[in-house]
């Protein structure tokens, strides 16, 4: 068994090493996109059971966003929902024999954390403007600027470390137990790993949502002078 801290390079494209996590990510992307396309091909006013399940999923996500942040869910639905789906499928991909979940690799989790970090900046600037976003670091007073900057870095760092630690440890423990106690003993641990994968996906998505909308909620109380804030009545079409 390879060290979970090391990436297995499958091939090189120029200077870019293509690791197993990247290939697995591509596979997951393909499955998700094709599956989503196939499931949403024939949406009608009279929903089938499949469409009702999809709508229930989207409605639950919207409710979760609204109840957690108090803002309209449409601008954040795609990013937060995709993060949750990707992390969930990536975590559960460990059930497929021979597949190591991409989220068990440091680069994938770091990339997700970087995206959350950038999305916080992006949504913050969209909602409050550049000046408003910069001023948010001075709340409640300018003395807090260094601490707020440090907080914005450490919170995403903690996110990716939490995700990486949980998934990697699950894979590692299952691998060790499987190598020591045969095939049936790791099954309870794999079931636990499923639960951990679900919980970690949920935590990552919820934290991302909280981080992103924390700046937007401040913007809602102090509207910016610029017209960059998303309209609350804007429809998601």
């Amino acid at each position: 068994m390879n060290s979970p801290l090391e990436s297995t390079v499958l091939f090189q494209i120029g200077p870019v090493p293509i690791t197993q996590a990247i290939v697995t990510t591509w596979a997951i992307m393909t499955i998700l996109v094709i599956g989503a396309f196939a499931l949403t091909r024939r949406l009608d006013l009279r929903p089938t059971r499949r469409q009702a399940a999809l709508e229930l999923m989207v409605a639950t996500l919207d409710t979760q966003i609204t109840e957690t942040t108090g803002v309209a869910p449409a601008p954040y639905r795609g990013f937060i929902g995709t993060l949750f789906l990707f992390i969930l499928v990536a975590n559960w991909s460990s059930l497929v024999p021979g597949v190591e979940p991409p989220t068990a690799q440091l680069e994938t989790d770091a990339a997700l954390a970087v995206l959350v970090f950038l999305s916080v900046i992006w949504f913050g600037i969209r909602a409050r403007g550049v000046g408003g976003w910069l001023k948010s670091f001075a709340t409640p007073n300018p003395v807090m600027i260094p601490l707020n900057i440090l907080q914005s870095l450490t919170r995403v760092f903690s996110m990716f470390v939490r995700l990486f630690g949980n998934v990697m440890s699950g894979v590692f423990v299952i691998g060790i137990v499987a190598s020591l106690a045969g095939l049936l003993v790791p099954i309870p641990l794999m079931a636990l790993d499923l639960l951990i994968g679900l919980v970690q996906a949920y935590i990552f998505a919820v934290l991302s949502m909280v981080f992103i909308t924390s700046t937007v909620k401040v913007a809602a109380h102090n509207p910016p002078s610029t017209d960059l804030a998303p309209s609350p009545t804007k429809k998601d079409s």
């Binding site: 090493p17 293509i18 996109v33 929903p47 919207d62 795609g78 690799q105």
Partner: protein, 244 residues
């Protein structure tokens, strides 16, 4: 432990692409379907409210029309009742008039019949009385009565003018009518008394007529001298009838 920056960047790009793709093929279509259904439901609710409003308006209109029909029906019923009352009054009045007329006619007829019956009864009673009197008087045809009638006849002849007596004698056969056939002496006495009363030479003969009851009468072709109970009773009968 090293961090593969290429891998980090590539994974970040992968996730970004996945976010974009899923937004295009999953999140937006499903959210759009939900929105479309909500809009359709809202439209159906609006249509339902509009239809409800139309139905309420139609119901109010029907209710108003029904109230109008009821009022019109009541008015027509009242009018018909008034007309029926008028006709009934007229019919009752006509019937009353006709009944009064019939009653008056009936009363007149009754009075007339009663008068007629009373007259008839009176006539019958008179006739019956005359009959009774004739039968009773028939029993009193005695010689004294006959002598009294003879005296009355003689007196009546004496009361006649000379010209009447002369004309009576000239008329020829004179009948001396008696109720009973007189015996020889009585016959002679009657003939002699009449002859003396008339004077001259009259020709006469005695005729018996029981209808006279009692009495003596002179009869010729153009002359009758009544002198009998029969004549008296007939006079009385005529007087009674004329009085009734």
């Amino acid at each position: 432990m090293t961090l593969d920056w290429w891998g980090l960047g590539l994974q970040a790009i992968n996730v970004l692409i996945l976010v974009w793709l899923l937004s295009r093929v999953f999140w937006r279509p499903v959210a759009g379907a939900i929105t479309r259904r909500q809009e359709a439901a809202q439209a159906m609710l609006d249509e339902g409210k509009t239809a409800q409003a139309k139905a309420d308006a139609a119901l109010a209109e029907v209710t108003e029309a029904r109230a109008g029909i009821a009022a019109e029906r009541d008015a027509m019923l009242a009018e018909a009742k008034a007309a029926a009352d008028t006709v009934a009054k007229a019919v009752r009045k006509d019937a009353q008039t006709e009944a009064d007329t019939l009653l008056a006619a009936a009363r007149k007829a009754i009075d007339r019949d009663r008068t007629t019956a009373r007259k008839e009864n009176a006539a019958k009673a008179t006739e019956l009385s005359v009959e009774i009197a004739a039968r009773l008087l028939g029993q009193f045809n005695t010689p004294a009565v006959r002598a009294a009638f003879l005296a009355q006849l003689v007196e009546a002849i004496a009361g006649m003018s000379d010209s009447e007596r002369t004309a009576l004698i000239a008329s020829g056969d004179i009948e001396i009518v008696t109720a009973t056939d007189p015996e020889g002496a009585e016959r002679a006495e009657i003939e002699q008394a009449v002859k003396d009363a008339l004077g001259g030479a009259p020709r006469f003969r005695l005729v018996t007529d029981p209808d006279l009851i009692a009495g003596l009468e002179l009869r010729s072709a153009h002359f009758v001298l009544h002198n009998s109970w029969r004549a008296d009773l007939e006079n009385i009968l005529k007087e009674v009838e004329n009085a009734g």
